[in-house]
């Protein structure tokens, strides 16, 4: 038995299976959280009846409803592309979880170039969105898809540049390495070692830029122009129904999960919490990470239900005029600090 577990392929398959089961389940929880939080922010109650108390089964009921629905494909659609697009989007978000460390050992594959991999895999989803927008044979979808493409170009750069500061500070691109670097004491006062995540080690600008760029990457308000219910009638999602729509929907929340996990790992210390032994971290690591992720997800939901939407050209101007110069300054500043200190 233990011999089997040590086999690389068996272990990998097991880990992938866990990811494939846990991520959609967590996404459902986030969907429910969004339903409830948005409702209470608007003086409503939100889901109430499904599943008995608090309507906890509402996301499941929605999912079941979507699965029962007819899978409509428009007549003029580019059928293979149309059908394949939701899978591309869902796969790209799931692929990010390969490198997210839930605890020192609980990680599918700790790549040396983890940061690069995560950002590359995450932005791959935009190709799926472009495919969906193009293949739907719908002008609204097309505009939505193209807006998503434009957004990718605008926001991928600040996203990557924001991370560079952390990478410089940690001296590694491995996710577990970055967490370990944050676990190292910053300084000691007498017997007490002070541990700080990178957010409090001078990466505030990097963190803010990362969060803004992340919202744009996830197409969440205030940057949800590719979807824009009130003008593009859900943009690239307009023609999707049934299971394929569910995949997009799940991918949106899985994307929130994955991007928040990256942000939590890079800036908030990941699975690490000061004062716990390495054994305890092994067990509590996933809980600690999930708590940090939940906090970020709450912020994303909070923004969505407070802010209006920007315009595409305004988003571009924010990205190019503000975020990229700021991110570059952040890199220079971090590099100087690294050399001097």
């Amino acid at each position: 038995m233990s011999g089997l577990l040590e086999n690389f392929w068996v272990l990998l398959a097991l880990k992938v299976a866990i990811i494939a089961a846990v991520v959609p389940a967590v996404s459902l929880v986030f969907i429910f959280a969004e339903l409830k939080i948005s409702a209470h922010m608007q003086s409503r109650i939100g889901p109430y009846f499904a599943g008995g108390r608090w309507g906890w089964a509402q996301p499941l009921a929605d999912g079941l409803k979507f699965i029962q629905k007819e899978d409509l494909v428009p007549d003029d659609a580019d059928r293979p592309v149309f059908k394949f697009a939701p899978m591309v989007v869902l796969m790209s978000t799931l692929a990010v979880f390969v490198i997210v460390p839930f605890s020192p050992k609980l990680v599918v594959r700790d790549l040396d170039l983890g940061v690069f991999y995560a950002l590359a895999a995450g932005s791959f989803g935009t190709i799926g969105v472009l495919m969906a927008g193009w293949s739907s044979a719908n002008k609204y979808s097309l505009i939505g898809g193209l807006r998503a493409g434009a957004q990718l170009i605008a926001y991928e750069l600040p996203l990557v540049l924001a991370v560079v500061g952390v990478v410089i500070q940690a001296g590694t691109m491995s996710f577990n390495g970055i967490v370990a670097a944050q676990a190292a004491p910053v300084f000691t006062i007498g017997e007490f070692a002070i541990h700080l995540p990178y957010l409090f080690q001078g990466q505030v600008i990097g963190f803010v830029i990362f969060i803004i760029a992340m919202l744009a990457e996830l197409n969440r308000t205030p940057f949800d122009m590719p979807i824009a219910e009130s003008e593009l009638v859900m943009g690239y999602l307009t023609e999707y129904s049934g299971l394929r729509f569910t995949m997009f929907f799940l991918a949106e929340y899985a994307g929130m999960f994955s991007m928040s996990a990256i942000a939590a790992t890079l800036f908030l210390g990941g699975w690490y919490l000061p004062g716990l032994s390495s054994g305890a971290l092994e067990v509590l690591g996933p809980v600690i990470l999930m708590a940090k992720v939940s906090l970020l997800v709450f912020v994303i939901i909070w923004f969505r239900w407070t802010f209006p939407r920007l315009r595409e050209d305004q988003l571009q101007s924010i990205a190019w005029r503000w975020l990229i110069p700021l991110a570059l300054l952040n890199i220079v500043g971090t590099a100087i600090a690294k050399v001097v200190l």
């Binding site: 939080i37 409702a39 209470h40 922010m41 608007q42 003086s43 409503r44 109650i45 109430y48 909070w302 923004f303 239900w305 407070t306 802010f307």
Partner: protein, 156 residues
Amino acid sequence: MMAPKIPGIGLAKGLWLTLKTLFQRPPTINYPREKETPVPRARGVIALDIEACTVCMLCARECPDWCIYIEGHKEMQPPSKPGGRPRSRATLDRFDIDYALCMYCGICVEVCPFDALFWSPEYEYSEGSISSMLHDKERLAEWLKTVPAPPALEAK
């Protein structure tokens, strides 16, 4: 005009407001499990007092939508005093209101000279088909017991 002084302060104020609301009790009512009592004057459904109606047709004539259908006949009634003349009295055969046509203006209630029509605030009588929105005189008479007392008036 309302230009915020510090960049981002406007965003923060909005976030604070939504966060505050998150922890307030929503003012919603859990319909259909709980129900609000409609105001006494609410124009929900028209109730008919069959006994008071004299088939004068005023309501049907004044109705802007022509949605009231009335038929009646005359009947001899025994004299009210012994030895008096027998009286003829108009009796209602049909009094239908087509609620699929009605626009709830209340003109019929107002013009009725014999106080046979009343507004009731009941509102739960939607139907699956348009044809069943036609209420006959028995159904209209049933609404009579839901007619509330008029509200007290504001002192002048």
